[in-house]
């Protein structure tokens, strides 16, 4: 901390600055400096490490020495685009530590935003890649993220609302929504949730999403996390609220319904028949992924009579030599597949190739040859693994992995009927879920929404 220079006739620093310096005291990057020329005087207070030194020099220090009087300097500072009101003390601390410079001229104070952000490069889309859509995603810096969104949505009704949360790091959270399209009820709910956030620390969109979800046991995600600007715009137009968090390259979109998780942005970029085909494929994939293991158990152990006789015999024939009941076989293979998926996700790219090869090829063939599983089981596991990844949003595809196990348990206990009723149970669960008051799953007939005016109940 620079002590005040003891030149004679120098005015005392304003009390606000003294309080500030007391608060930030032991830190080495605090700068409190007076500017003095011919009796004219101003004080600066900022943190060296988060502010742009060049900018301060260009916009504050040089003009001060070039200007003739305090008055003209004051009006100059007032006219700067990055100038803002000086908030209450608590907020002021946050602002200063986020990269603002406090300027005191006589008894007036100004706050200039001169943030120095090093993590503002726009990142490539890696989680939800598309062929035709934008190849760049968002940024870790909230300013850049908002810029990326605003640059794609030129309407005055797009509102950006900054909320400073109560957590330990005072991270900036911004709400973005189209004021004309958003449902006020939903907006109110989201704001209330954010303000009542009782959590010491959150660092990413995923974590915040977790805290926004009130109930303790949840299977299905009720908000989407995305990195794609086109998905964000698409949802803004749909009247949804986007929550951006400083430091996270992803944003949260809320409220969402189940079908949002099954849509890829690519669907909009293709010819209608083509995208219809892909959507159909995706749903087939979804059903294969959750039903197949249960179906295998039900068909081999409970109701082989359902299949036509040739197929039933083939299945039974391939299980010759497998020493345990089918549900154990499925569980065993499912476990290895999940392990493989988890392992290849966490490993560095160079090693993950080896893991997949060893796991998939060698383990698969060896397991059948050792007659630990049937060959049909290997096919089923492979089909299941592939179809899991057809679901476009990661969160949902992970959820479906859990759903699959639940259905497997249900059909191991109760057979074919169990699979059917278990599947209905999953539908029950989804239908009974709400995302911020919006029903999670229902058949969306267009134009008939107000027929059953029960949504606001």
């Amino acid at each position: 901390m620079n002590e005040q220079q003891g030149t004679s006739g120098a005015p005392e620093a304003p009390p606000l600055l003294n309080t500030l310096s007391k608060e930030f005291k032991p830190s080495n990057d605090v700068v409190q400096t007076p500017l003095q020329i011919k009796g004219e005087c101003a004080f600066l207070f900022y943190l060296k490490s988060v502010t742009d030194g060049d900018k301060i020099h260009q916009t504050v220090i040089r003009p001060f020495f070039e200007m003739a009087s305090e008055e003209s300097f004051t009006s100059y500072i007032q006219s700067l685009p990055n100038q803002s009101e000086v908030p209450a003390k608590e907020q002021l601390f946050v602002k200063i530590s986020a990269g603002s410079v406090l300027i005191a001229i006589r008894d007036r104070t100004f706050l200039l935003d001169v943030r120095l952000v090093k993590n503002n490069e726009v990142q490539d889309t890696t989680i939800e890649p598309t062929v035709h859509g934008p190849q760049k995603g968002l940024s870790e810096d909230i300013g850049t993220t908002i810029n990326l969104i605003r640059q794609r949505y030129h309407k005055p009704s797009l509102i950006v609302e900054e909320i400073v949360t109560d957590d330990e790091t005072n991270r900036t959270v911004a709400l973005l929504y189209d004021n004309d399209l958003v449902e006020p009820e939903v907006l109110k709910k989201i704001k209330a949730e954010l303000e009542n956030l009782q959590t010491p620390l959150f660092q990413s969109a995923g974590e915040l999403q977790h805290f926004l979800n009130k109930s303790r046991w949840t299977l299905f995600p009720t908000t989407i996390i995305t990195e794609r600007p086109d998905r964000i715009i698409f949802n803004l137009v749909g009247g949804k609220v986007v929550i951006a968090i400083d430091g996270s390259p992803n944003v949260i979109i809320a409220p969402v319904i189940f079908f949002d998780f099954m849509s890829s942005m690519e669907d909009n970029y293709r010819v209608s028949v083509l995208s219809g085909m892909t959507i159909l494929l995706r749903y087939i994939g979804l059903f294969i992924c959750i039903l197949l293991p249960g179906l295998y158990v039900a068909m081999t152990s409970y109701n082989p009579n359902i299949l036509r006789i040739e197929l039933a015999l083939t299945v039974a024939g391939s299980r010759i030599g497998v020493p345990y009941p089918s549900f154990f076989e499925v569980l065993f293979m499912l476990l290895f597949m999940e392990l493989l998926t988890e392992a290849s996700m966490r490993l560095p790219k160079a090693v993950s190739g080896t893991a997949t090869t060893v796991g998939g090829l060698i383990l698969g063939t060896a397991a059948t040859e050792a007659s630990l599983t049937s060959t049909i089981m290997i096919i089923i596991i492979a089909a299941m693994a592939i179809s899991t990844f057809v679901i476009p949003i990661n969160e949902m595809s992970f959820t479906m992995r859990v759903v699959r196990v639940l259905l497997l348990i249900y059909s191991s206990l109760f057979g074919m009927v169990g699979l059917l009723i278990g599947f209905m149970g999953i539908i029950f669960l989804m239908v009974n879920k709400e995302s911020l008051g919006i029903p999670y799953l229902r058949i969306p007939w267009i134009g008939k929404n107000d027929e059953l005016k029960a949504d606001n109940k």
């Binding site: 109701n303 109760f414 209905m424 239908v431």
Partner: protein, 372 residues
């Protein structure tokens, strides 16, 4: 008319299509089922119209709320109790019928308790869902299942084994006086609208029935009623069918898919109807538990500020269901359903209309009073 109203009616109708109703109809085939079907269709449509009209006077209110507002307590409580029990029994019959179907046609080796246990978790969860969500859920299941059912029907009607002569014989019996048993059981098929006693809570804008809606409903009801009765006869023969318990299952088992992975249509058929059956049980028991909870509201019966009325009721539901399923024989079930249809269904309908008329009158006089 709201589409959800259609689901209430159609699901009730289609569930009873497979259970014991066809047998009751076929049992009376020599004595006047055909005329009863026509009368039941007519009465059912008129009843649907009257009920929807009456309920549209009380937007967003279920029967408990209506009676609470416009009827004395000593009158309301027994009626609600009766309705609650009647709906519970309706759901129970569906449950028993489907349990018997499962044990006969799908998993004969499984214990009957295990089969009931299959339903317990899912149905319990379903019963406790919000009424609105039950309607959404019924829509989803309906839309998934109906193509299968249409496919099966189509397969049935174009099948070469369908002998239209038997259908003609059955039609020839039109010259008999209507059979009461056949009339009431086909009335039960038609009268899904009565579920509005609770589901009207969701319909805040229940409009008066439109001509188009009623015409569509009449067509659908007529088709299902006719199909329920005539298609099994066409497959099974006029005389021999009288000895079967589940004519529809037998009928669907006569149809084969030559190139399908699943060769016997009966499995698709039971699967589709089982799904509808679960929805129907959920609907009936939801109505029942809400009605019963409005009768016995144990305010003091709490555990950590959590009212235990609903859990207690559902546990009782399942205990009774387990007990009855273990004891009852198919023949007993048949008798019970017959009795239920003969006495309960008409009483219930008359009582319901009576209550609503009374309440409407009360509402009108109250309104006049407040105007003065």
């Amino acid at each position: 008319m709201s589409r959800f109203l259609f689901y209430l009616i159609l699901i009730n109708m289609m569930t009873s299509m497979v259970s014991l109703t066809p047998r009751i109809l076929i049992a009376g085939s020599g004595s006047g089922t055909v005329v009863s079907l026509i009368i039941a269709l007519f009465v059912g449509i008129v009843m649907t119209y009257i009920l929807v009209r009456l309920f549209s006077h009380f937007p967003g209110l279920g029967l408990p709320e209506i009676l609470k507002a416009y009827a004395p307590k000593w009158f309301a409580k027994p009626i609600l109790l009766f309705f609650g029990l009647a709906w519970y029994t309706a759901g129970l019959f569906t449950l028993i019928a489907y349990t018997i179907i499962i044990i006969r046609f799908l998993t004969p080796n499984m214990s009957i308790y295990t089969i009931v246990l299959t339903f317990v978790i899912v149905v319990t969860y379903g019963v406790f869902m919000k009424a609105r969500n039950i309607l959404y859920m019924s829509e989803i299941i309906f839309i998934v299942v109906v193509p299968l059912i249409v496919f099966i029907q189509l397969k049935g009607y174009i099948n070469r084994d369908l002998n239209w002569d038997y259908v003609r014989i059955a039609l020839m019996e039109i010259n008999h006086l209507p059979d009461y048993g056949a009339f009431t059981s086909s009335l039960f098929i038609v009268i899904g609208t009565a579920n509005l006693v609770i589901f009207n809570r969701v319909f805040t804008q229940l409009k008066k029935p439109t001509g188009k809606g009623m015409a569509l409903l009449t067509f659908l009801l007529a088709y299902v009623l006719a199909s329920t009765y005539f298609l099994p006869i066409g497959f099974g023969g006029y005389e021999p069918l009288k000895t079967t318990i589940f004519p529809w299952i037998m009928t669907s088992d006569s149809i084969r898919m030559k190139f399908g992975i699943i060769e016997r249509i009966v499995f698709i058929f039971t699967g589709a109807f089982l799904a509808l059956g679960v929805v129907s049980i959920v609907m009936h028991w939801h109505v029942s538990i809400q009605l019963l909870a409005s009768v016995f509201d144990f305010k003091r019966f709490k555990w950590k500020s959590f009212n235990l009325t609903f859990p207690l009721l559902i546990v009782m539901f399942w205990v009774v269901a387990m007990f009855v399923i273990a004891k009852i024989s198919t023949e007993g079930l048949f008798r019970a359903v017959e009795m239920y249809d003969d006495y309960f269904t008409p009483t219930l309908l008359v009582l319901l209309v009576f209550c609503l008329l009374l309440a409407r009158k009360g509402a009108a006089s109250k309104w006049r009073k407040s105007k003065k």
